[in-house]
Amino acid sequence: MTALELESVSRQFVTPDGGSYRALDSVSLAIPAGAFVAIVGPSGCGKSTLLNIAAGLVPPSSGSVRVDGEALSGLNRRATYMFQQDALLPWKNVRENVALGLVLAGVASADANARANEWLARVGLSTFAAHYPSQLSGGMRKRVTMAQNWILDRGMLLMDEPFSALDVHTRQRMETELLTLWESTAENAEFAEKNDSLRAQRTLRLKKTVVFVTHDLEEAIALADEVVVLSAGPASHVVARHPVALDRPRDLFELRTSAAFIDLYRSLWAVLRDEVIKSQRDA
């Protein structure tokens, strides 16, 4: 089943001088349910625009978006979105931030807090429940954000360079935690499918679809099942789609030096390199 389907999606923006800028040009992309897809491209190629369109935050100028087979109108209520910048509410403490989505959905506060506590335990931040975001490190804030998103248990995760502001080591740790979370829900789904046919339909959705935007090819290969390469802007389009046949679970600390990884990197970089050169020539 296709979780997200973009059909000849284009998007223009009005520039400050009154002209128009074509960010995306006829992008078609189908992402199967439960897949982890990374979208890479040089900076300014419209990766974030693509994600915003999938989220329903920005409507496409032309083309159509379907989520789980249904045409998307308004916000994508089947997805959560992890932004590049910090998006935690600074005036709410960690627990309140994690519980926010539940509170917005009308869950009673005792229940919402209890579930937030469970998630805080999962991301290892139980002792920081009463802290404010400004009192946390960058990596901790990302973990809170992950808990804030995952507590809603939506089928799709849209992620826009979520770890790009972190230092290399924290970043690798966050990538590992992301994969661990994602793989654990996938296992739950398979387990439930085998053992409880009544719940199978519901649990199938537990295997989350991830659309992960990054400009870092290494990160894309390390995390994803499939890497999509976008061309340099303006008028970005899909130039390549490449499956990543690396076993899971992956050990991110070892993976990057394995022969299979390096081969993949080489063949994808051959495509991406041309686009990066183009984007820098125009800049």
Partner: protein, 258 residues
């Protein structure tokens, strides 16, 4: 621990200096008048002012006037804040209305409040309401501009994130826009409070039967400079005390800030 102790000593030193500056200024004033370099008729003298203040306190005449001024200021602050915040919010949420009313807001804000005082006396009488109205005209604009800015300034990413997490328009207002504006509003609370007192006192000064502004106006009418300075002293002390309270409140309300 170390840094908090260090900052505590620094605070102590600052307080000592603050007291020293006041003491030196008062001593210099007293000395200059005693030596005859300044005329006590024009500038009074600290010892006389202190005597006058103690007379007011002992006889109890001070409290009634002070209560009146504080009541007017507080009512002006509350009404001005309520109006300013609602209008600021409304304008920020509907850009068309904001653009239509923009020149009128600017015009009204440019009107000197002293000009309005006699009109308010005419409309609302000699009682407290003409003073409250004057305080409102001052507080309103501070609150209005800060709320407007605070709502407009709300972080786009925070808004998008909360919407993605499922917020309705009303929840967006409650969880993002109001808290975002509140940081601006609280930061302007000190200014607003000062303005509310200025409004009340100026109103009393121009026509009243009670209040600190009335006391000062009466004293000026009889060239009683001691009375004028005593009235100003009371105002100053009250403002410092109330400001300290507001600062504490602000620190508590904005405790999430690093």
């Amino acid at each position: 621990m170390k840094s908090s102790r260090a900052s505590a000593t620094r605070n102590g030193a600052v307080l000592a200096w603050q007291i020293a500056v006041g003491a030196i200024a008062i001593a210099a004033w007293q000395t200059l008048v005693t030596l005859g370099l300044l005329d006590a008729f024009f500038v009074s003298r600290p010892s006389d002012i202190a005597k006058r203040l103690s007379t007011w306190v002992v006889s109890g005449t001070l409290w009634g006037h002070l209560a009146t001024t504080l009541e007017e200021s507080l009512l002006g602050l509350i009404a001005g804040a309520a109006l300013g915040i609602s209008f600021g919010f409304g304008f920020a949420r509907s850009p068309l209305v904001a653009r239509v009313f923009d020149p009128y807001i600017k015009m009204l804000n440019a009107v000197p409040r002293v000009v309005l005082a006699p009109l308010f006396l005419l409309w609302f009488g000699l009682g407290i309401w003409s003073k409250v109205a004057l305080a409102v005209t001052l507080v309103f604009f501070v609150m209005f501009f800060n709320t407007y800015q605070g709502v407009r300034d709300a972080d786009k990413v925070l808004i998008d994130n909360v919407r993605m997490l499922g917020a309705s328009e009303r929840q967006l207002v409650r969880h993002v826009l109001i808290p975002s504006a509140l940081t601006w509003i609280f930061s302007s609370l000190q200014t607003s409070l000062g303005f509310a007192m200025v409004g009340a006192v100026v109103g009393e000064y121009l026509g009243a039967t009670r209040g600190l502004g009335y006391v000062i106006a009466q004293a000026e009418g009889t060239f009683d400079t001691t009375g004028v300075f005593a009235g100003m002293t009371v105002l100053g002390v009250v403002v410092v005390i109330v400001s300290a309270g507001v600062s504490r409140l602000e620190r508590w309300l904005l405790r999430w800030k690093a």
